[in-house]
Symmetry: C2
Subunit: 454 residues, 2 copies
C-alpha cells in the first residue's frame, strides 16, 4: 500500500506567515480614497482595523512571525493533514498523483479560522471588545465566532439572507460559540435599510453584508470590522496552508507540478498557492490554477480595475478583477464564492500571467464533489467542489497526455452543513446559471466613472 | 506550551483487533433460541450474518488479524488523534489531565465506520450483494452507507422516525454514499406494519428498526443484516480505538487512571475501554466508567437478564441489562443512546463489577457539550456529550480531592448534523425526562415469562 497520509507534528506548525508581496515584480497599485480618488495611507483604515493588521496589510517583510498565543490556538487543529487521493486517482484511471490539503478539520470546518484567530488576537490586544463581520455561506462567520469565543470578544455576524435561509445550522454553530447573527440585508444599518427599501425580498450578497458590518464597526467605539478574505493581511494568515504542504512534500520527496484552489475572495487559494508562487516567480515551472464558479466569473469575465469592495461604496477603491460592485451573483450554493470582486494580490497575479483562472458550472462541480465523496470519503463543501473539479480536470488532461504529474489542491472545507445543497443535487433541483453578458455589462456600466488603473 | 496532540503514523494503525472475551473470568451466558429457550449455535445466525462474522462472534482468540483490505480503508481517517484537553482543564481549574480520543474525523463523523467497513468487507467476500440495517441518530446508517459504497454493496437503512424527522441531513449524507433510506416504522415490513397499526404516529425506536432490518434480510437471499452495536463482533472491531490510545499514551509516558465512554448499545464504550479492561482484569487499578442518559437508564435501572434485542422478538434472547424490549425511550436528542438493552459483554462487565455505570440528564450533558465546544473548539454529538459530562465529573472530583489523575474519554463523534438539538438547547426547548419507575415496570412486566440467567 502506498502511503496516503502525510501528517506533520504539532511542533511543525509554521512559526511565520509568508508575505508574497515583496517577491512580486508587478505589485498591485494602492487602494484609493473613495472621495478624493487619492491613494490612501494606513491611517485611513484605523477606524475599522487595529494597527497591527494595518501594518501587515502594507508590510514589505517577506516573513512575519506568528505570535505564540495564535500558535497555541492553531494547535487545536493544525497542522492539517495532507492526503494522497489514491482512490480518486484509481477511479479516474489517471497516471497523475493527486494530493489534497484538508482544511475541514478545523472546529469551524474550513480554512477560515487561520485568519479569524489572528484577527481576533490583534484586536483583543489593542483593546477592542467587539467585532462585526459579514458571512456568505456561514463559514467565515463560524470561524470568527469561534475565534472571538477563544479570545473573549463579542461577535456580530451579518449573514447573507439566502445562506441564512439555506443553512440554519450555520447560525446554530455560531451561537454555540456565543456570536449574535442576523440576516443581511437587515434593518439594523442604513445600508441594509436602503437595499430593503429597493427590494424587500433581497437574497442579499457578500457586498451588501460587508457594507452593513463596516457601518456597524464605524459607528461604535468598542467595535472593529473583520473581513474573511480579499485583503492582504487575510491572505497572509492563510499561507500556513501552503507552508505546511511544502514541508510535507519535502518529506514525501515529491513536489507539485500544478496547484489548484477555488476562488471567491481569494483567501484559501492564496493560502495554498502563495508559498508556491514564490518558487514560480523565481523561475519554477509550477502551474497555479484558480477555479471560480461560472455564475460569478470574476477572474474570467470581469475587468481588472478600481472598484468598491462593497455594494454601498463604503470601502476604499481596490484594484481588482471585478464584475461591478452592483453585481449580485445568482444564488448558487457556493455562498463563499458569490463575490463581485477578488483579492488585489490574486488579481495582480492573474494580470501578470502567474495564475491561470478558469471557471466551471455548479452541477459539474457537484458531480466532482460526489465522485470525491464516493472515493475519498470526505463530503466537500460546495465551494471546495470547485477545487476538486479543477484537480480532476488536470488529472484528466494528464491521462490524455500520458503524463504522471503531481497535482495538489486545497480541500478548503467539509460540506456537513451544506447537505441541503446535496439534497438539491440529488432531487435534480440544482440550477446552472448561464450568466448573460448583459448582466455584467449593466453592473460594469455603473462603475464607468471610477478611476482607472495606471 | 504542553503538547496537545498525539498523532500516530499511518503505519501504526493496529493490525489486530482485541477480543476481551477470553480474558473474562465471568463470561456472558450464551444467547438462547427464542422458540426453544435452548442455547443457539453459530448456525442459527447464518441466515442473517456471514460466517466470518459469526466466527468472530464466538471466537476464543485474544487477537484477530485485520485484513489488509480493511486497513486500506481505515487509512482514510485512522489513526484518529488523541488530544490533551488543556483548555477544558483550565476552564475547570482541575489538577486532572484530561485526554480525548477523537473519532469524529471519520468520513461519517463517528466511530461507527470501524465496524461498518469490517462488516461490509466480510459480507462482500462471502458474495452478499446487499445489506439491511437500522439507524437511530443516523450515525450508524451513514457509516454503513459509506462502507457499502467503498465495497460495492447496496445498502438499505431503516431510520428511526424521530431521527429521520430531526436530522434530514443524515439522510442526505447516506444518499451521497448511495444508500436507500426510509423512516421506521415503515410499511415495507410486517413488523413495521404491526407497529403502525397500533400507533400510526410512532416515533420509532432502535428496537423497532432492528426488527424491520432483520426481517428484510431474512426474506431476501441477496441480503444480510448488519448491526451497529451490541454484538461481540461489533465491539471487537471498535477496539482499534483503545489500542491506538494505549500506543499514544506509551509515547506520552502517561496512562489513564480512569477511562470514560458513553453507552447506547455499548460499542464506542467497548472500543475505548476493552483494551484497558484487560489491564484491570490482570490487577490494574484503572477505573472504567460507562455513561448513559437518565432517560434510557439501561445499566443503572435495568435488570441483567435474557431479553430480545428488538421489539418484534425476532432476535435470539441475549443476556443483558435491559429495560424490556417493549420499552420505547423518550425522544431525547441522543438518538444513538435510545436502546432498551446493552451489549452482553458490557452487561457482564458491569455485573462483575469491572465497569461503573452512571447516568446524567440531557440538559446537563448539553451544558458539558457547550463548555467543551467553547474551550476545545469541537462541537460534540449529543451522544458524545455524555462522555464529556462523565469526564468533567471525574475532573471535578479530582479538584475536590486534590488529585492529579489522568482521565481519558472517547469523543465518539461530532455534532455537525445535530445542530437542531443545539438549537433546542439555546431556545430552552430541551426537555429533561424524569423517567417514572412505572414505565420501566410495565415494560419489564412483559418479559417476566422469558428464561432467566443462571
Amino acid at each position: 500500500m502506498p502511503e496516503r497520509r502525510f501528517d506533520l507534528g504539532e511542533r511543525e506548525i509554521p512559526r511565520k506567515w509568508f508575505n508574497l508581496m515583496p517577491e512580486m515584480a508587478e505589485k498591485p497599485p494602492p487602494p484609493l480614497h473613495p472621495g478624493t480618488g487619492e491613494p490612501i495611507g494606513p491611517d485611513a483604515l484605523a477606524p475599522i482595523f487595529p494597527m497591527a493588521l494595518i501594518e501587515q496589510e502594507v508590510s514589505t517583510e517577506a516573513w512575519i512571525p506568528i505570535p505564540e498565543e495564535i500558535l497555541d490556538i492553531y494547535r487545536l487543529w493544525r497542522p492539517t493533514p495532507l492526503f494522497r487521493a489514491d482512490r480518486l486517482e484509481k477511479a479516474l484511471g489517471t497516471p497523475a498523483r493527486i494530493y489534497y490539503k484538508y482544511e475541514g478539520v478545523s472546529p469551524a470546518g474550513s480554512h477560515k479560522p487561520n485568519t479569524a484567530v489572528a484577527q481576533a488576537f490583534y484586536n483583543a490586544k489593542e483593546g477592542v471588545k467587539r467585532l462585526a463581520t459579514e458571512t456568505g455561506a456561514g463559514q467565515w462567520g463560524s470561524a470568527l465566532a469561534f475565534a472571538c469565543n477563544q479570545l473573549g470578544l463579542e461577535c456580530k455576524v451579518y449573514m447573507v439572507r439566502v445562506s441564512y435561509d439555506q443553512k440554519p445550522y450555520r447560525r446554530s454553530m455560531m451561537q454555540t460559540w456565543g456570536a449574535s447573527v442576523i440576516p443581511s440585508p437587515s434593518n439594523e444599518t442604513e445600508s441594509g435599510k436602503k437595499i430593503l427599501a429597493r427590494d424587500p425580498d433581497s437574497a442579499g450578497s457578500l457586498g451588501i453584508a460587508i457594507s452593513e458590518a463596516v457601518e456597524d464597526a464605524a459607528k461604535r467605539d468598542d467595535t472593529k470590522y473583520s473581513l474573511g478574505s480579499v485583503l492582504n493581511h487575510v491572505l497572509l494568515h492563510q499561507t500556513v496552508i501552503g507552508l505546511e504542504a511544502k514541508k510535507a512534500f519535502e518529506r514525501i520527496g515529491d513536489a507539485p507540478d500544478v496547484v489548484v484552489g477555488c476562488t471567491g475572495g481569494g483567501s484559501n487559494f492564496a493560502g495554498i498557492a502563495f508559498p508556491y508562487l514564490a518558487d514560480k516567480i523565481h523561475g519554477g515551472k509550477i502551474r497555479i490554477v484558480a477555479v471560480e464558479p461560472a455564475a460569478c466569473p470574476t477572474l474570467t469575465r470581469g475587468e481588472f480595475r478600481y472598484d468598491f469592495g462593497d455594494t454601498a461604496q463604503m470601502t476604499p477603491l481596490l484594484p481588482m478583477y471585478t464584475l461591478g460592485h452592483d453585481f449580485i451573483p445568482p444564488s448558487i450554493h457556493s455562498g463563499g464564492l458569490r463575490y463581485h470582486g477578488m483579492a488585489p494580490l490574486v488579481s495582480q497575479l492573474v494580470k501578470s500571467g502567474l495564475v491561470e483562472p478558469t471557471s466551471y458550472m455548479q452541477t459539474e462541480c457537484f458531480d466532482a464533489g460526489i465522485l470525491f465523496a464516493r472515493t475519498e470519503g470526505i463530503l466537500p463543501a460546495p465551494e471546495a467542489t470547485h477545487a476538486v473539479k479543477g484537480a480532476i480536470a488536470e488529472a484528466e488532461r494528464c491521462k490524455q497526455e500520458g503524463k504522471a504529474e503531481t497535482i495538489l489542491f486545497n480541500l478548503c472545507g467539509h460540506g456537513h452543513l451544506d447537505l441541503a445543497a446535496y439534497d438539491a443535487y440529488f432531487s435534480g433541483k440544482l440550477e446552472d446559471f448561464a450568466l448573460p453578458q448583459s448582466a455584467i455589462d449593466e453592473a460594469m456600466g455603473k462603475i464607468d466613472a471610477l478611476p482607472r488603473i495606471g
